[in-house]
Symmetry: D2
Subunit: 419 residues, 4 copies
């Protein structure tokens, strides 16, 4: 999973890190009822209960089962239910049917978590390095599911005509309007991209390799809700000229006319969020737009999306721990604190790069090797993390990926242009 | 809704009847978790929570709102959520999306029931006759939903790979094998069918009218699981000659090869029920077969299904309160007590009659007039009630109806033939 | 196929009848190009070339192959291509793929016809009675395909944005407006329906049997285009109250707002026909309406559709050879000659009766037994023949049947009501 | 459409070139009947008649209409029918309905071609340079449609259970078996790719730009049918490990188990081609495989597909006019003349590169600007041309593109690997 040897966290630090990650997941489901945690709102989304159990299955399977002698599965029937897509791990429940599993209950799944956590923490002092690396992987894996849990939950609540808020939140003070976009220029030059450090990274982030940039400029901030409303008002969703052919077909077939969760009420745009329905904040970054929408916006604006290499080259100078990211359970949303070239947090930024392997990429052997490589067709790379990304999870080299029509993640837009 | 004036139950008796019906519904959901009661397993089925709330909405709307001065809706948002299909009552939540509504919770819906029950019982003494008739209708309406709640719940549990039992039940003693089918002959004669009594009935049961029977015989019992297994073993599902054209297309498209919930394990047939998966009882009536399957079986057997008039003429001499019907919450299933000409209980019996209006039928005015008339295309009539039908609900004139491919109800087969 | 022994046509008369039927089919395709005859416009329709070949395959298979010693198939590959739905005759080409068969060409199919016709006419003098009955059946079978050929062709031309006319036709003189509907009353009485004569009939028309009519009245004419336009103008397609539930779902899903082939141009209704697009004639019978539409119209008018027995009882006194029926190739359309109680021709009239077997009905043995019986679910009976029905084909007992949403045949509406 | 000024062909040479291209298209349809040229076998394919007319519409619209004063459209209704996807040119017939247009006939479409050709050749001497460039574009555009016409025709014939041959062809002498793959190594270096010449090119081929190759090797020949049969025999289509996730879903959903048009007969593989069904030639390049299959093969072989830059760098040294390409109408198929590093002809080679814009790419203004840019999502680049590509049409910089599941073109596989 890693491309370079990783300096091991000492066992105590690893235990603390592990406990912290597991606790945050459980904090996220604290406001949920058994039903909230069970229902699946679409094929792309999973129930919260499934996220809770799947991340636990991952730890139980690849660490406890494989490295702890005498460990007995908590429940022999769970691997079938909670394997996600690891073909090498055998048959599994159909993804689209995850919401049918009302039993085990939320409480039983939390008990499963407790059982596995206790077993893992007990085993940790004696685990070999390979297993400790899998604990680290399990933490990063769980962080990914924390973000999915949040966005899947938001999608579920949006299906409810009552539009319930998951977390109450006070009335927001509008963000100050950012100034016009500033452009960060980049020369034609050979630069290195991809993961090259000695901490954890996912396999698809490497190998680190040289790439050639062409002369370009990249925006110093993302597009705002207010700017997006202007795109709508200018007929952006009604003019095929701005759109990729597949995007235009999607717009017509699905009747797309605004970002997901937007609704016009009394002539003003509102959005649904984890704190219920509220007016959009014109100064906040637009989110829940698809690649097709992002590309159409760029086309309308006469520019383009950045390549992932351009993005990474510009982001390398910025602190991946900065920006608006997930620190605690609550009604997260894109809310930039200040204007300026922040590249991390708030919204995942669509790039114009298809998700394909880097030169020299090879999936690692075994079931965990199915992690990223097999998704390398049809999807586009997103960079930078979002308000729902656990702080510490993302890096300049981090490659997220979704299909061009998907938009239930916190996805947004940064522009670029050729020079 | 009724075709003749009904002798009013006195107010106390009506209150007791009402309370009893409402209590049985709640007993049915007692073993359910919040999630069990929320998930929708297919478009045809509804969540238990929805049944709880919809029956309550029916009472609140057509009685409390319309007849009780000053009554304030328990929650103004509920009519949108819990109207089923009454176009005259305005917009409503999409049927296929009922399972998305995780909130209100089960507890909140039970509170809604409590609120409406209290209001209705308080108002009952002063309700005019028209409203008291609607209370009676509300009871019958709720009984229909009790049966649906049971069959929808069974369907949901069957989607769970763990196949949980809703009610534990001891090991069943096999039923004694019935003898060969006896044939009850019927002459060519003009006879009266349809509801003609002075108790409650649904609009589609009337008007009572003369009809002409042709010479025929009708079986004195339904087909058993053992007989059905013989049909399967004889290649019944593989030979197009037995099947209606639409039925054969359904068999091929859906890969149908046995009744719903049947599964072969170690060479023996099992079925899933509310008490989990168990071997089939060869002597018990086959159930969970579609009209297409029922018709194919009859064709294979060289006979046919009865018409609804033939069935009603034969059933008229039998006690509709007899047979295996629903008396209390539990793992009901077809279990005939004795051999002999019982026409009620165990399984709904497919007839060969399309569900169409009787001569002189007119839907009643207003929203409740949407009750049955608008479903009179594409469906077939079933008669006799099942193990999940609340005792007292069904009559000789009672017309149930489903589409020919549907089989998640407790549906079975009685044969007939021309003489 | 027949319910009573048929007086045999003498061999010369049968040969003349056969030659006449075959010639009319070929006259119908005279204006068609190879491409016109090959394309399939929807799954329900078949290419003209397929109709030409399938009727020929029927004769070749059931007569020449089965009764003429030494007959060699014209082409061994044709049975797979041109069997329609006879399961007993083995595998066959998928119905929805009939339009893919560009070869054999129209000319080759006409040669196939010539070959089979010559062989059959040569064999006719020596054919046994059973085979001669199949020749008669083959003629009636071909007449059914003549009507389908016409309606399938109309549907195909309607898919072409250029809306070509198949036959040129001079400008029509508008029909004189009929007076208000007169009502023919029928008493409650036992009457006989079903085929009971000694000429040819299809299996589903019998056995002739007693049935009981209830007091009713049936309209003396069908609904006109002008009356239908009034239904539209009154919001008939926008008010769910008039519609069966399945019908309303169909209206919404398909965006139905007028009969098939109607289009509003400059505020006036036009229809597409075999002579191209023209204004509707307000006095002519409305056609190309589905059962759902027919039922909704009747509901809007406060009445109902007739049962098939009511229709047959009223039609029995009328001449089935009268009315506007198909005599020669050309741009047929509903054009009533005179006002008055004509029950045959112009449009097939939807009844409120589901297509189900008569008492005592049994499909005949063998492949031809698949003719009608297996279609007895989900369809409604139509009566009376249309402008596209070859004169002589239809009888008072004749039962046509289609699914309630289908409307590419010349289908119309006659009202009835309870007394 | 071009990135650099093109040296104009003199007017005579342009007229000759134009006439030659138009004549080849017509030679391709010479064996077709009216029906063969009209039917559409799937949404991705178009009828031959449509290709004939659409290419003509392109010339009529962008040259005659826009540059020739007083030119009257041959038929005012044709633009609606024969515009393919140019949104700026207004409404157009639905792509999936092209096969419904039986009229105009093939002869009428050929007359349309004659009319436009005559008008264009008459106007050519006086056309301004911009219009002459469009004539050149029209020739290249028509060459693309020649290839599609061939592959669409093959697909149509394959739908016919009779599997007719379009062109008779004598029995083929098997090709000599190639030796093992040789590997052409490429260093890490900055190289230039993209069109940079002064002849014609499509917009997406430029701008020419520097790119950085990483150390790699590319195969000196494509994969053969024999090698593919070994992949099948080794369970290649049954082992999810080799497949991209989307590819595996496609394999399961579509039941894919061999290249398109392959069929096993008596244990040996056959393929359907324009000369009918024949045994595969083990030495010939495999064709009609999708990107998913190509990628799975590479994965099974432990290597990968080349990037488009790697391919272009290797191909630059080879003659784009060489190899097995389309010279005349006939039953073309992949048939390598000799072993060795030929990069052009036989089969389009899937690369691992998503079809995305080059740095600095901008679609040109106006309707013709919709040519390539709007297809830049979801598709993969193919290189090299095929046996159905008109000789002279393809270049080292030429970028063809299809969706990863598509395989009705002559598509094949060349391997590459990291060094």
């Amino acid at each position: 999973m890693r491309t370079k040897p990783e300096p091991q966290l000492d066992r105590n630090a690893l235990a603390a890190r592990f406990a912290g990650v597991r606790a945050l997941t459980e904090a996220l489901v604290a406001p949920l009822s058994d039903a909230d945690s069970t229902v699946q709102s679409m094929d792309d989304a999973s129930p919260a209960k499934w996220h809770l159990a799947h991340t636990t299955w991952f730890l139980e399977t690849f660490i406890l089962r494989d490295f702890v002698a005498g460990y007995a599965l908590h429940d022999e029937r769970f691997p079938f239910l909670f394997n996600s897509y690891y073909e090498a791990e055998g048959r599994r429940h159909s993804r689209a049917r995850r919401g049918m599993v009302t039993r085990p209950t939320l409480d039983e799944v939390l008990a499963y978590r407790g059982h596995v956590d206790a077993a893992l923490l007990a085993a940790l002092p004696a685990l070999p390095a390979a297993a400790r690396e899998l604990v680290t992987l399990g933490c990063h894996h769980e962080e990914q599911h924390q973000e999915l849990l949040i966005t899947d939950l938001l999608h579920l609540m949006a299906q409810n005509p009552l539009e319930p808020a998951v977390w109450l939140a006070e009335r927001k003070v509008p963000v100050e309007m950012p100034g016009p976009i500033g452009w960060i220029e980049g020369d034609a030059e050979v630069t290195e991209v991809g993961f090259g450090g000695d901490c954890f990274s996912f396999d698809c982030e490497g190998p680190r390799h040289a790439t050639l940039l062409s002369p370009h400029a990249i925006a110093d901030r993302t597009i705002t809700n207010g700017e997006w409303a202007a795109f709508i008002a200018d007929g952006g969703y009604a003019e095929p000229r701005h759109w990729l052919s597949d995007g235009w077909a999607w717009v017509k077939a699905e009747g797309i006319a605004a970002p997901l969760y937007w609704e016009q009420q009394d002539g003003a745009w509102t959005r649904f969020g984890l704190d219920g329905r509220r007016p959009i904040d014109p100064a906040a970054p637009v989110t829940h737009v698809s690649f097709y929408e992002a590309d159409a916006y760029a086309s309308w604006a006469g520019v383009r999306l950045p390549t992932e290499a351009e993005w990474e080259a510009a982001a390398a100078a910025h602190d991946p721990l900065g920006g608006n990211q997930l620190d605690a359970a609550g009604a997260v949303e894109p809310r930039p604190a200040t204007h300026g070239p922040a590249f991390f947090g708030d919204v995942w930024e669509w790039t114009g790069s298809a998700f394909r392997p880097y030169p020299g990429f090879r999936p690692i052997e075994g079931a965990v090797g199915e992690y990223n490589g097999k998704f390398m067709s049809g999807q586009f790379v997103l960079r930078g993390g979002s308000c729902a990304t656990p702080r510490g999870h993302v890096r300049a080299s981090y490659r997220n990926f979704f299909y061009p029509h998907q938009r239930w993640q916190f996805t947004g837009v940064r522009l670029a242009k050729d020079l």
